[in-house]
């Protein structure tokens, strides 16, 4: 089973251990991949005398990583030629072992270690915001993300890749439409509840009358078929379709990633219609780009027009 590292600060402690072990001139970078929850710690080493001495004095299988915490380890030659040194890394069921002796003939090498990270591990590094709802202009949501305190990480390079920025697109107001059949259904529920709750002996005749009314209401409901319209509304809200109502202004720093439904009834299987569609975009931050922003346009009118179209199509088919 994989052991996850909880935060970038925990990772820093582990990375510092590796850093202090390796002798020689080196610089370090960290890449935090928020889409796959992997952190790649990269240490670039100048294979100088100090490094050679250290490697020669090292025992066999001394430099190793447990597979429970580590997803992958790679050693790459940077100078004089570029290419992965595949035989420098061996893998067993429980360990990944690095043999630096294979690097002795090179000038510059790079060690990359990828760790499993717990979801949300980068949250303390990034402050993001999306408009809670569009208030200034009903079609625009503002998205932004920025590094909280990049320098405290002490790396020469920090890349936070694919950090999620979630926008709550509130759709409930647009779905406040008259769904045919609901009034009938309400009447039916009232009748059924009366039939089953207040039964007294001698009510047989009354119940028979109610039974007939119930039959008629059920027939009417079948005719009105609210499920069909509900299906049509649901289809408008499916991510592949709803995406048509969303558009980024600049497309520069933000990438569309996906959506899911959210509402008071957000338990899976219980969503009939959502209160909100959560739209996820992803952005990259680094020491060179410490902050990003963009504007998400929501074509609300078009969505509402399509809802009305679905309603009138349903009415015409009856």
């Amino acid at each position: 089973m994989s052991e996850y590292i909880n935060s970038a600060a925990d990772l820093l402690r582990i990375a510092n251990e590796i850093y202090s072990k390796i002798a020689g001139e080196k610089n370090v970078a960290i890449m935090l991949d928020c889409a796959s929850n992997l952190a790649t710690y990269t240490i670039t080493i100048k294979a100088d005398n100090r490094f050679s001495k250290w490697v020669m004095g090292m025992g066999k299988n001394e430099f190793k990583f447990p597979t429970s915490k580590t997803y992958n380890v790679r050693v790459t030659e940077l100078k004089p030629f570029y290419g992965e040194i595949e035989d420098a890394v061996t893998r067993t069921e429980t360990e990944i072992i690095v043999d630096f002796k294979k690097c002795l003939s090179k000038d510059q090498v790079r060690l990359q270690v990828q760790y499993f990270m717990r979801e949300g591990f980068a949250d303390s590094l990034v402050h993001w915001r999306s408009s809670p709802e569009p208030l200034v202009n009903e079609m625009k949501y503002e998205l932004s993300a920025q590094l909280v305190d990049p320098e405290k990480l002490e790396y020469d390079e920090v890349f936070v890749q694919d950090y999620p920025v979630t926008t709550r697109v509130y759709v409930k107001d647009s779905l406040n439409v008259k769904i045919p059949g609901l009034a009938t259904f309400k009447e039916l529920r009232r009748l059924e509840s009366d039939m089953f709750s207040d039964y007294k002996p001698g009510d047989g005749f009354k119940i028979a009358g109610m039974q007939r009314a119930r039959y008629e209401l059920r027939e009417q409901l079948r005719e009105e078929n609210p499920r069909e319209l509900l299906g049509a509304l649901n289809r408008l809200l499916l991510p592949a379709h709803f995406r048509e109502y969303l558009e980024l202004e600049e497309h520069k720093d933000y990438k569309y990633f996906g959506q899911h439904w959210f509402g008071g009834r957000e338990m899976p299987g219980n969503v009939i219609l959502p209160d909100e569609v959560l739209v996820i975009h992803r952005t990259d931050l680094s020491l060179k780009k410490k902050a990003t922003h963009d504007v998400l346009h929501y074509h609300r009118r078009k969505f509402e027009d399509d809802v009305q179209d679905a309603l009138s199509k349903h009415a015409n088919s009856k």
Partner: protein
């Protein structure tokens, strides 16, 4: 142009402020402050990007915002409603980030400012003034007779509440002593009950399979599904947030709800009862009732209706003081009256 699109005031010729994208050789400043802010928001971000500029000092001043924190600084001096950051206090000279908080105001729409004064080593000064509206909703009782006689016309509720302000609002209505208890109509209650029984069965099984979440499950089972499916699920969700990292458990929990739906007396009710609640919760434009089926069962003669209305925005901040409604409801016969037929909402 929309009246709310306040342009950022740049107190210098526009050409002098260059965007940081203009190329590596050029210098520039870019200030960003979030928009669409709700009153009571605690973490509104802003940032200043500086490119190839020799900064001497940055002075920051706010009105109606409160400075919570600054990023990328070793230290800074707090002054009244702001801060002064010397160049040596910046950890790197290209970025200053920060967080502002807001509070609630009497009015549903106030303007707040963030002012930045950037002094460069060559003696020149650049200034930014960013203005933002802080929005909220306010409710007030527009009409409230002392006495209401049943039956009432469902399309013309005798009590009227007027909401002002732009944000979406949800309204929670709770009983106040000595008013009559709130309840939900029998036909909805019976559908809820069936649903709750299936959830209970599933949750009890879940408790056996995951003994470490026993206490969480017990807490959820304690709740009574008497107000609305939405409120109940919200409470459940909140409890289970604590276990959300256990994917297997969360998946099993989701199946409990799916099977609760499938076990309903008919799939029709399973589908339509929550839908009815969804649609009936809409009280006016951008205004939703937390428990749309809530009502009172009035005995022969009448009863006292005394309820408290609390308004929340989408970030669950309470907007303004709650409204108390106190009315005598007279009736010749026993009747159930939904609150939505007694209290109407309108937005101005």
């Amino acid at each position: 142009m929309n009246a709310y699109d306040i342009p950022s005031v740049v107190l210098e010729p526009k050409s002098a402020v260059q965007n940081s994208e203009d190329g590596p050789a050029k210098s520039g400043l870019e200030l960003f402050l979030s928009d669409d802010i709700l009153q009571g928001e605690k973490r509104v971000p802003f940032y200043l990007l500086m490119k190839n500029l020799e900064i001497r000092r940055i002075s920051l001043h706010t009105s109606r915002f409160r400075l919570v924190d600054l990023y990328n600084t070793k230290s800074f001096t707090r002054v009244r409603q702001g801060a002064i950051i010397e160049a040596k206090d910046l950890k790197s000279d290209d970025y200053l980030g920060g967080v502002l908080s807001t509070r609630t105001f009497k009015s549903s729409d106030v303007v707040a400012n963030l002012e930045l004064r950037i002094e460069l080593t060559d003696g020149s000064v650049r200034e930014f003034v960013e203005k933002r509206h802080l929005f909220s909703v306010r409710a007030q009782l527009a009409q409230c007779p002392k006495e209401v006689t049943l039956p009432v016309d469902a399309d013309a509720p005798p009590i009227k509440v007027r909401l002002s302000g732009r944000p979406t609002a949800t309204i929670a209505i709770d009983r106040e002593s000595p008013g009559i208890e709130l309840s939900i109509p029998r036909e909805v209650a019976s559908a809820y009950q069936l649903y709750f029984m299936s959830i209970q069965k599933g949750l009890l099984e879940l408790k056996e399979d995951y003994p470490k979440y026993r206490r969480l499950v017990d807490k959820v089972l304690d709740e009574e599904l008497s107000r609305s499916i939405a409120v109940y699920l919200h409470e459940v969700q909140k409890e289970f947030e604590k276990a959300k990292n256990d994917e297997e458990f969360m998946q099993s929990l989701a199946y409990v709800f799916v099977s609760a739906l499938l076990e309903q007396e008919s799939l029709r009710s399973a589908l339509l009862v929550p839908l009815m609640e969804y649609l009936e919760s809409s009280a006016a434009s951008k205004t939703f009732l937390e428990s749309p089926f809530s009502g009172i069962r009035v005995p022969v003669g009448g009863a006292k209706l005394r309820v408290k209305l609390a308004v929340h925005d989408l970030l669950l901040t309470e907007c303004g003081e709650p409204i108390v409604i106190d009315v005598d409801v007279k009736s010749m016969k026993e009747a159930f009256v939904p609150l939505s037929t007694l209290i109407g909402f309108e937005r101005s």
